[in-house]
């Protein structure tokens, strides 16, 4: 619901006013007929359940009265830690993804061979969707206790990866997240590089600008919205992730999505109101990053025309 900032709400309000005005006009009303099944679907399986979830987070289970106790409960260490872990892993893997993804994207963009370029873009396309259980499992095979790389490091460099590092811990999960964050960033940033016209670089050069000046005054400002879009999308992508963490760390690392999942499965005895409060706070965090993402992509489109 929090996605409904004024900017997104504005067109809805206009549309609603038109709907009200057109009530007396049959042909105008007919316009909305074709929309009906789809709107009904969204109301029934998204908006109304989410509204009830928000309402439920403010309702006391026994008295049925209004309460903010569920939100006050968020100050307990276990919940604070879940939020901190979720934000930390999403922020960290988003930043790593943006920096390395931009470097890789640039290297792909500048590569002379078209066929290799396309192959790398296709690889990014497939691997960014290679997540969840299969991904978690692949990382256990290479970096688990008896993993291939674990042994390789021990045999050839006499370096013991464990117990300093563990694939079942925060750093292990972060590495697995980077695996699907990197290619996603590559896919976001390549169109932005394509958008920087050769002519701009040439005209900057002809006016005496050096490379640093070109990137400082032209390149980065043009890439800026794409970088911001990437950062927010990657953040949201990791924050909402569940399957990879479920397979890899399960209960060894407390994340918001995992906690909510445990509550649904009934594995932890908590007031359901607390789970709903966690969900509502997460919607707020997700909404914020998606809203910034939307604004950033509108700015990206301005350059891609």
């Amino acid at each position: 619901m929090l996605l409904l900032t004024f900017e997104t709400c504005h067109p809805i309000i206009i549309l609603m006013m038109e709907m009200i005005k057109s009530k007396h006009n049959k042909s105008e009303l007919k316009k909305w007929l074709g929309f009906f099944p789809f709107l009904l679907f969204c109301l029934a399986f998204e908006f109304i359940p989410i509204l009830f979830l928000i309402r439920g987070s403010f309702i006391d289970k026994t008295t049925q009265g209004f309460t903010i106790a569920h939100y006050q409960a968020m100050s307990r260490t276990v919940y604070i830690n879940s939020f901190l872990n979720s934000i930390k892993i999403s922020g960290l893997t988003a930043i790593i993804g943006v920096i390395l993804g931009t470097l890789i994207g640039y290297a792909i963009y500048r590569w002379p061979s078209e066929s290799l370029k396309n192959a790398l873009i296709s690889l990014s396309d497939v691997t960014t969707n290679f997540s969840g259980a299969p991904l978690a499992f692949s990382f256990i095979i290479i970096l688990g206790m008896n993993g291939v790389i674990t042994q390789f490091l021990f045999k050839y460099f006499n370096y013991e990866l464990y117990p300093g590092f563990s694939i079942y811990s925060f750093s292990g999960l972060a590495l697995a997240y980077v695996y699907f964050q990197l290619p996603l960033m590559v896919l976001i940033i390549i169109p932005a590089f394509v958008g920087i016209r050769k002519e701009w670089q040439e005209s900057a050069e002809s006016m005496g600008a050096n490379n640093f000046q070109f990137w400082r005054f032209i390149g980065i400002p043009i890439l800026g919205p794409s970088l911001l879009a990437g950062l927010t999308l990657l953040f949201a992508n990791a924050y909402g992730a569940y399957a990879t963490a479920f397979t890899l760390v399960e209960s060894q690392l407390s994340l918001v999505t995992l906690q909510i999942g445990f509550m649904i499965a009934g594995e932890v005895r908590h007031d359901p109101g607390v789970g709903m409060a966690m969900a509502v706070l997460s919607l707020f965090i997700m909404g914020l990053s998606i809203a910034i993402y939307q604004i950033a992509t509108t700015r990206v489109r301005r350059w891609s025309k």
């Binding site: 998204e46 359940p49 999308l233 924050y239 990879t244 919607l283």
Partner: protein, 270 residues
């Protein structure tokens, strides 16, 4: 900022290594006799593949996954395509509603959607909880932007107004115009949407696990169960799910000819 060629090559080689090593290792693991004492597998065998394929649950979960993926793709095609056409031709201003719905769909993680659906539908007398239908509906909600986006792009790329007028001047009504004139023209868009939805649902774990759990085991659920007791066979399953995703990507590439990537048609939600 200018990177020389050597540096760019190193970046790409490292990227390739990072992306490919987990996949290659998983594949080798699934065909090796023993691989926990040595750097390279001690020998190769197809035993694990044979074992995993011969299990009854293998066929069942694969069938369940194909069923739910096809059902979601077909249901979304039927729901979204006519609506998108209607919006484009009759109420182009309300395209923004689709944009907002897409943002919602991206912004609500699977865990939260599952929680909201369970809370709401267990409180009212509608027999949906714990059924395959609720999973289907939740998957539709999660995936509809993947259907809408390619279809909307296809509708934008043809002159639907002229086509519709021409068809109507020849006596066609809305329905026959849609089926005989518009559908064939936007078919590549529909096919792309269909495949995107298909591969997303095929890999779907969160909603399935939380909404139906063990009552309707899909391939990803089966895979997670396997990782806990037999790594060899689990790695074979992981390779199969990767191959499905890869085949769908190839098909998508074939349909769209040249893949044009924009940040609009990226899929998120892991």
């Amino acid at each position: 900022m200018r990177m020389n060629k050597l540096f760019r090559s190193i970046v790409l080689v490292l990227f390739l290594l990072f992306m490919l090593v987990p996949l290659i290792a998983t594949f080798l693991f699934s065909i090796s006799t023993r691989w926990d004492r040595t750097i390279l597998p001690e020998g190769f065998t197809l035993e694990w593949w044979k074992k995993v394929i011969s299990r009854g649950a293998f066929g069942l979960t694969l069938k369940n996954s194909f069923y739910i993926s096809f059902a979601t793709s077909i249901a979304l095609t039927i729901l979204v395509t006519p609506t998108a056409y209607w919006v484009h031709i009759r109420a182009p201003k309300s395209k923004v509603i689709f944009e907002i719905m897409s943002a919602f769909s991206f912004g609500i993680p699977g865990v939260i959607l599952a929680l909201a659906l369970i809370r709401f539908y267990s409180g009212i007398p509608v027999p949906l909880i714990n059924t395959t239908n609720i999973l289907l509906l939740a998957c539709m909600e999660l995936c509809f932007p993947f259907m809408y986006r390619p279809v909307a792009n296809a509708l934008d790329s043809i002159d639907i107004h002229t086509l519709t007028e021409a068809s109507q001047s020849l006596g066609g009504n809305w329905i026959s115009t849609f089926i005989h004139v518009i559908l064939p023209n936007i078919f590549p868009g529909i096919a792309s949407g269909f495949l995107l939805v298909f591969s997303t649902v095929f890999a779907e774990f969160t909603l399935t696990n939380l909404l139906v759990g063990a009552r309707f085991k899909t391939f990803p659920i089966y895979l997670v169960e396997f990782t806990r007791f037999d790594g060899r066979q689990a790695s074979a399953l992981a390779i199969i799910s990767f191959v499905v995703a890869w085949v769908v990507s190839l098909l998508l590439l074939l349909i769209s000819g040249k893949r044009t990537i924009t940040s609009d048609n990226l899929t998120i939600g892991h």
